[in-house]
Symmetry: C2
């Protein structure tokens, strides 16, 4: 089988942990790895060469990796370098698979789109949550009309990251600086990606305007004061980031999208994926489906019977991509989503097919971060840019 020779840029928590999965994929061949921290470059190279049983090129400078001309690059660095690296790769003729994260400026989103349009080099945002099993089943059910006309979608990135943000004296994580200096919806794509696909954004529908609201910041300081593992200097640090950020996006099709960022308070993980139409709904919290077709009003108050009933719809409505995947045997992290998104990237490039997630999609989803920052700072609704 033909393999895609890829260079992997960024070997932090995400990049390094994906190497074993990538090494095991039959259509991907890692030819080079890179990180700005030499210790990470060495560790990544050792892992890949150990897995393949042969040496792999290793760089501390991503410019050199791009100059070495792999078939494609996977950009898995910190949020702040995604756009810069992606643009240089495209300008060098190297197709890009870019990991997720919000943008820093709206201008960066425009630059990303321009670089892709001007070069014609393929770019895909590697949003694994677009490949979640229930997200895909819901997309399938929406396209079959089972939920009727879609009216409202909700999602969130609700993940207690206090330990990660405040970790140790040698914290090299880009999140810490973000939480100290910015107040915004800093991680919108996990929830917004599948919602945008459900709503057909950039395919006849579009985001019109965005309004964000931030609560006070209290979670990180309280955690820091109670945990001796947190560096002294962070105990009374002034964090700019509010604990909970609510964002409401209006769509040209009349739908509302509501996003919640909630990463510095104690809570269970949830992306809160919720899709409501005139004939039915799906809700990730509780994993339930409610359809006019299958339910009646006597069930309205009957919570326990609804709990996890979405499982019962898999047999009939599991997405074709997932059916095939399960026949082949589930592989990779996050319940198979990671395998599926990298596989899609490789297959599209090897077969010359367009990516299902376009650069305009990426720009729209990533732009939520700087737009929310403006909305919160200036206390106003901001129009959504048109990335065309």
């Amino acid at each position: 089988m033909k393999k895609l020779n890829v260079g992997v840029i960024g070997l932090g928590a995400r990049g390094y942990s994906m190497l074993p999965l990538l090494c095991g994929m039959e259509n991907i061949n890692i030819v080079s790895v890179c990180d700005m921290y030499h210790d990470r470059t060495e560790a990544g190279a050792a892992l890949v060469s150990g897995s393949y049983g042969r040496p792999v090129a290793a760089y501390d400078d991503w410019h050199e990796l791009i100059a070495s001309k792999p078939d494609a690059v996977l950009v898995m660095s910190g949020w702040e370098s995604h756009v810069e690296i992606s643009i240089e790769a495209m300008r060098s003729g190297i197709p890009v698979g870019c990991e997720v994260g919000g943008a820093y400026t709206v201008d960066d989103c425009f630059r990303l789109v321009s670089a892709q349009r001007e070069t014609g080099v393929p770019f895909m945002l590697l949003e694994n949550c677009c490949y979640g099993r229930y997200e895909m089943m819901v997309m399938n059910m929406v396209s079959l009309g089972l939920f009727g006309e879609i009216v409202s979608c909700e999602g969130g990135y609700r993940h207690d990251l206090r330990t990660e943000i405040l970790y140790g004296e040698k914290n090299r994580h880009y999140r810490l600086n973000n939480y100290l200096s910015r107040n915004c919806e800093n991680y919108p794509t996990h929830d917004l990606g599948p919602i945008a696909q459900v709503l057909g954004i950039n395919r006849g529908n579009s985001f019109v305007s965005l309004t964000s609201f931030a609560s006070k910041s209290a979670g990180l300081n309280d955690y820091a004061r109670l945990h001796s593992t947190v560096p002294e200097k962070l105990r009374d640090a002034a964090f700019a980031q509010g604990d909970v950020v609510k964002t409401v996006i209006r769509c040209s099709g009349g739908q509302l999208v509501t996003l919640t960022l909630d990463t510095t308070l104690p809570r269970p993980y949830s992306r809160g994926f919720t899709v409501q139409g005139t004939r039915g709904m799906y809700c990730e919290d509780g994993n339930y489906i409610y359809l006019d077709r299958d339910h009646d009003e006597t069930m309205h108050f009957d919570w326990p019977k609804r709990w996890n009933n979405a499982e019962g719809y898999l047999k009939e409505y599991d997405h074709p991509v997932w059916r095939k995947f399960l026949e082949d045997g589930v592989r990779g992290g996050h319940g198979g989503m990671d395998y599926l998104v990298y596989n899609e990237f490789a297959v599209c490039l090897l077969e010359g097919r367009p990516f299902p997630i376009t650069v305009e999609d990426a720009a729209c989803w990533m732009a939520v971060t700087p737009l929310s920052e403006i909305s919160i700072k200036e206390g106003r609704t901001v129009p959504f840019p048109v990335f065309r």
Copy 2:
């Protein structure tokens, strides 16, 4: 035992259905009933006199009931007459227990507060959800500091009312006109009441501003077209009310309150009561509690173990009001909430104690409706009035 002689005004779905409970209460004596529809007045009078075994005064005109000078009135009419009836009762020296519903204008809220202040006659909003068992347990846990500093609260009135709104040719329900002519958060108090109590609104904290967003209106028309029970004229009616309305309220204490109205799409019932602090949270959907004290990060992804775990906290943290209530034996509708709110009303009046829900609380909660209407219509954030 001393009884409060009350007149009941409004014998529609709510008023009529509460009569058996009220007739059975040891501190309440219904002396008169009233509805603008004579058939309802007759049915209500028959129910009460049948229960007591003696006649009861019956009026079609609420002015006459007030003029008959009961000890107090219970205002259980449609939303649109709550303020008018309450004000006339107070001006006549009759204490008022008023059922819930949003206001029609901000001015009505000011008039309600002025009437109470000028007359000194007691007024209480009968918000039964402030007496829900889990709502009260959460208030108890918040006051004990178990959730730390509160940062964000969410709630909703998520109740599929399509059948009720579109019911039959002889629809006398005030909801239909509201859905035809208004676009707003039309029923905020069930969710906002307990949240305001958790946040200490009007007790050192306050609502600062409100912003609302409405989705398109599609649910009622789709339902009407599919159901032959719905009158022909409503099939293509232009409903003003959006299916989903999101409202974000900023508090002077830095907290965010997010409300959802969602009453015209298929879905299970939920008030979505959610309270998040720096050390823990409660969520009604799933009925779970997550505390730093009791949980750790390995449980973040462990949904099934969290399902309904709030039940396990009742033993230690059930609210004293509920402990006593259960010892006495649960009575009345909606899991005891109705009994508790009417009992509180009667006990406070009989013992001369102030109501726990003040007229300023009522004005704040009810004002969300007209404020949301302005916010949606004008696409802007509106400042919250100060009712003092």
